[in-house]
């Protein structure tokens, strides 16, 4: 374990603030809470085999670390303990499978109709529930049938001195290529040349499923693709908040990857909304927005808050005439990447999301906004309200909406 992370347990004064915010321990006794499995249990780890399996019920949402006034890296401690646990006990097949979105994507894309049918087929889902341990009700996105990368290869970006690299992540590539097209369109609309290098998974799902060696391999490979641009001073823009956070911090703090390339990539990486708001603050963002007479509840995902940049989406959306955005204050949707897919955790995940679902539902809106793809799928699963990335609203307000398929579901 990195000293940075483990040593932070020294700051814990047992004040319980983390426990008052943990969305998961509030709904299940199976997760003893961030203070318990974090700085407390950590004092009992480190000599011999992992003594506690309950740390696996931590979703890694990271809220505990954000609210801790003492600077304890609680979620990070848990993440590393989980990796040790699975290193000691062996990673279950299911966790190996769901943690490789790019492998699944490559398998599913060419046979999308069949794969999508299978993922919605109750009998098959029940079988997967029993044999693999993926809950039969858990939200599964639909394969788009073509990848964003394929689109990107054919796309000619505007020529400009202002350049940006786009890290789109697996969700965009296999399930929501339309979101990627919108990101590119918005950036180009603002005068950027957008470069989309070939790229693979960042390793985040492997990390949260405790497979650090594989996660490191993936993230190093990705860093290798992005680093030349970062070294040349290109900003990197990401629309997946969790994958962006992997590059910004988690690779360094949790996976302990430490090299110059990562440093450069980290420093260059921006969440798309953070990037656009940055432009606006410098007076460089086009504000030729059309009216969008909608009411949209907005949920900032946990991983977005982990960027510690506030909620730039709110400021951006506030620029759109007639758009009324309701900031939701529910903490977490419950999905936490792959957590809510698991048979034994699905019910917990839905219970965590309950407050958000209710708030979305009660807003009466028929579209909600949220920056993270898995959270959007969970919101749709829990509410039947269509959930979009904030860029989709910007895209429409810019009047860029060509007839592309957007969003999922």
């Amino acid at each position: 374990m990195t000293e940075l992370v483990r040593d932070s347990l020294d700051h814990c004064v047992k004040c319980t603030i983390c426990e008052t915010f943990c969305p998961f321990s509030q709904v299940t006794p199976l997760f003893p809470g961030p203070k318990y499995v974090g700085p407390q249990a950590e004092r009992y780890r480190g000599a011999g085999l992992s003594p506690d399996a309950s740390v696996d019920y931590c979703s890694g949402c990271g809220i505990c670390t954000q609210v801790c006034p003492q600077g304890v890296k609680i979620a990070e401690i848990n993440s590393q303990a989980r990796a040790q646990l699975w290193e000691d006990r062996g990673i279950p097949l299911r966790n190996q499978v769901i943690a490789r979105p790019s492998v699944l994507g490559r398998l599913g894309t060419p046979v999308a109709p069949l794969a999508n049918w299978a993922l919605q087929n109750r009998a098959i889902r029940l079988l997967a529930h029993r044999l693999v341990g993926i809950h039969y009700k858990a939200p599964m996105p639909k394969f788009a049938g073509h990848t964003f990368q394929r689109w990107a290869k054919r796309h000619r970006s505007t020529v400009s001195r202002r350049k940006v690299v786009y890290f789109h992540g697996c969700g965009t590539n296999y399930y929501e290529p339309g979101v990627g097209e919108m990101v590119v369109a918005i950036l180009e609309h603002n005068g950027f040349h957008v470069r989309i290098p070939p790229q693979d998974c960042c390793g985040l799902p492997l990390q949260s499923n405790g497979n650090f060696p594989a996660a490191r391999k993936y993230v190093r490979r990705l860093i290798g693709k992005l680093a030349p641009y970062a070294h040349d001073g290109w900003p990197i823009v990401a629309n997946s908040t969790s994958c962006g956070l992997m590059l910004k911090r988690e690779a360094r703090e949790i996976l302990e990857v430490g090299d110059e390339d990562l440093e450069a990539v980290s420093a260059a990486t921006h969440d798309i909304c953070e990037f656009l708001l940055g432009l606006h603050e410098r007076g460089e963002l086009r504000t030729d927005f059309r009216s969008l007479p909608l009411t949209v509840p907005y949920h900032a995902p946990c991983q977005q808050r982990g960027h510690e940049i506030g909620k730039p989406a709110l400021d951006l959306l506030a620029l759109i005439p007639d758009l009324r955005v309701i900031e939701l204050d529910a903490d977490c949707c419950g999905i936490a990447g792959t957590y809510g897919l698991k048979k034994e955790k699905y019910a917990i995940s839905m219970a965590v999301g309950e407050r958000l679902f209710r708030d979305v539902y009660e807003s009466g809106a028929n579209v909600a906004a949220c920056d993270s793809e898995t959270c959007r799928w969970q919101i749709e699963h829990g509410t039947d309200v269509h959930a979009v990335h904030p860029v989709e609203l910007l895209y429409r307000a810019y009047g860029l909406d060509a007839p592309v398929a957007v969003g999922a579901g």
């Binding site: 004064v13 047992k14 199976l30 407390q40 011999g48 003594p51």
Partner: protein
């Protein structure tokens, strides 16, 4: 005055006394132990927790080294549940002469302490926080040992063999009849009542206080109390015992024990083993020495400091207590002073407590004219029959798979309400510090900040204390805690202390409680 009869009366409830009472009882002798405070409240409960391999003494004190390694191997068999098999390293830091390593290896060979040189890289891989500038490293079979578990294990075993243990019984005087010691008058420190104990032989196992006890029999035993301070750091900075490879000196060892790492120690001759003040200079010295073993040591969180008084026996006057042998000393006062029925066992280490008990009981048997063999080298302590060492994760593992959080009273040490109530009923004491020694209550990072209010409320119910007694339990624990905490209040522990102030003085207002 009430009285009772026994064959052997043991004075002192540290590791030696507990070893003696068990050994004597196992030999079928009727035995009573008296202790002025709680078991292991003195020196035994105030050391760093090292089960010596003997390496520390291999050069300077070969006799002590031999005793240590022999006893180390015996305790691994008989007291496994009290021991964590951490292993130990002797390392030459940039401040130590690498050539001493050769002397060290030579000393180990001569005394039978298994020591093996390993590469610096291997040492650093094993202990990544170790100073990267070390030049040499040697492995030795050091371990850590839980002295409270050990002493209570001995006491329980002794009770099973019919012995009686009287804690909070202070010896007021030794009774002498016709030139022999025939027993003692003891005072119950809780009720004030006195008790006369007739004994055929009295074993003085009062450690650093052995001189005071011997004086009651008119004998002179030159015990020099040597103060050693220790600081517990909040977590396991290392998982192997780290020793500096040099002649014994202040701050030369870091012991991982239970959830903490303990740095020690100093050696200062003091007049009174009950007056052990910790000075700022001593604390700073420990931190400076800690930096040499583990860089960044000053930034790490200290939990608590304490001082113990070594019972160093010197046949004659010496200037420096470090020059006194760490071997034990048995004084048969019949031979030396012509006082029959009185034996003193002192000096030594917790590591060699069993051997000390053996020789003391041998001497007692000789005075009693009986010949019964010692069995403590073979028979394991209760709880250690399985021969499995204690492991760090055991308390967490015991809480799995379904944690009962609402039931956990002391969160740092993971003590459930059930266990706490059980211990309170068994100890039957208004003193929460006794419960602390039994369960390690309040010994974690928050130093009782969260559990002591709870424990007081529970104690009030279990012991049917009236409110004033409960208030006293609470306040005296807070005072006791403060004693250990205030010398090392800085960094994170200062934050904790201030939060604890808010809890006790701000939220609960304990300063306004009736007493």
């Amino acid at each position: 005055m009430a009285s009772l009869e026994t064959e052997v009366l043991v004075i002192g409830g540290g590791s030696t006394g507990a070893g003696v009472v068990r050994d004597a009882a196992m030999r079928g002798l009727k035995t009573v132990l008296v202790e002025r405070k709680d078991l292991a409240e003195g020196t035994t409960g105030r050391f760093h927790g090292l089960l010596h391999s003997g390496g520390r003494y291999a050069v300077k004190d070969p006799a002590a080294a031999k005793e240590c390694i022999e006893e180390n191997l015996i305790l691994r068999r008989t007291a496994a549940d009290c021991i964590e098999d951490t292993g130990g390293l002797f390392v030459s830091t940039p401040w130590d002469d690498p050539a001493f390593g050769d002397t060290f290896v030579e000393g180990c060979r001569a005394t039978g302490v298994p020591a093996e040189e390993i590469s610096v890289a291997e040492a650093l891989q094993r202990e990544p926080r170790l100073h990267p500038g070390i030049s040499r490293a040697f492995t030795v079979p050091d371990a850590s040992i839980d002295a409270w578990k050990l002493v209570w294990g001995c006491a329980r075993s002794a009770q099973e063999h019919g012995a009686e243990i009287l804690i909070y019984h202070r010896v007021v005087r030794l009774e002498r009849t016709d030139g022999r010691v025939s027993g003692a008058v003891v005072r119950d420190e809780l009720t004030g009542g006195e008790l006369r104990i007739h004994a055929d032989v009295v074993v003085n196992a009062a450690g650093a206080w052995a001189g005071q006890i011997a004086e009651l029999a008119g004998c002179r035993v030159n015990v020099l109390p040597g103060k050693g301070i220790m600081i517990a750091m909040n977590h396991r900075l290392v998982n192997t015992v780290l020793n500096r490879c040099k002649m014994p000196a202040d701050g030369d060892i870091l012991v991982p024990i239970r959830t903490v790492s303990v740095i020690g120690t100093t050696d200062t001759r003091v007049a009174d083993p009950d007056e052990l003040e910790i000075t700022e200079a001593e604390v700073q010295e420990m931190l400076d020495e800690g930096e040499k073993l583990v860089p960044g040591f000053r930034e790490a969180r200290a939990l608590r400091a304490w001082a113990g008084a070594r019972p160093l026996f010197a046949p004659e006057e010496v200037a420096d207590t470090r020059d006194v042998s760490r071997s034990h000393a048995l004084i048969d006062h019949r031979d030396r002073d012509g006082v029959e029925g009185f034996v003193t066992i002192t000096g030594g280490k917790t590591t060699t407590f069993r051997l000390m008990a053996e020789v003391a009981v041998d001497a007692a048997c000789e005075q009693l004219g009986v010949d019964r063999p010692c069995r403590t080298a073979e028979e394991p302590l209760p709880g250690s029959e399985g021969g499995e060492f204690y492991t760090l994760g055991s308390r967490v593992r015991a809480r799995e798979p379904v944690p009962q959080l609402q039931g956990i009273i002391c969160e740092c040490e993971l003590i459930t309400r059930e266990r706490l109530e059980e211990a309170m009923e068994w100890r039957h004491t208004p003193n929460l510090d006794d419960i602390r020694r039994t369960l390690r209550l309040g010994m974690g990072p928050c130093q009782g900040g969260f559990c002591i209010y709870r424990a007081t409320g529970i104690l009030h119910g279990v012991e049917r204390l009236d409110h004033l007694a409960a208030n006293e339990s609470l306040l005296s624990f807070l005072q006791e805690r403060w004693k250990g905490v205030h010398p090392i209040l800085y960094g994170d522990q200062m934050r904790q202390a201030r939060l604890d102030d808010w809890i006790f003085q701000g939220l609960l207002g304990v300063q306004r409680l009736p007493t």
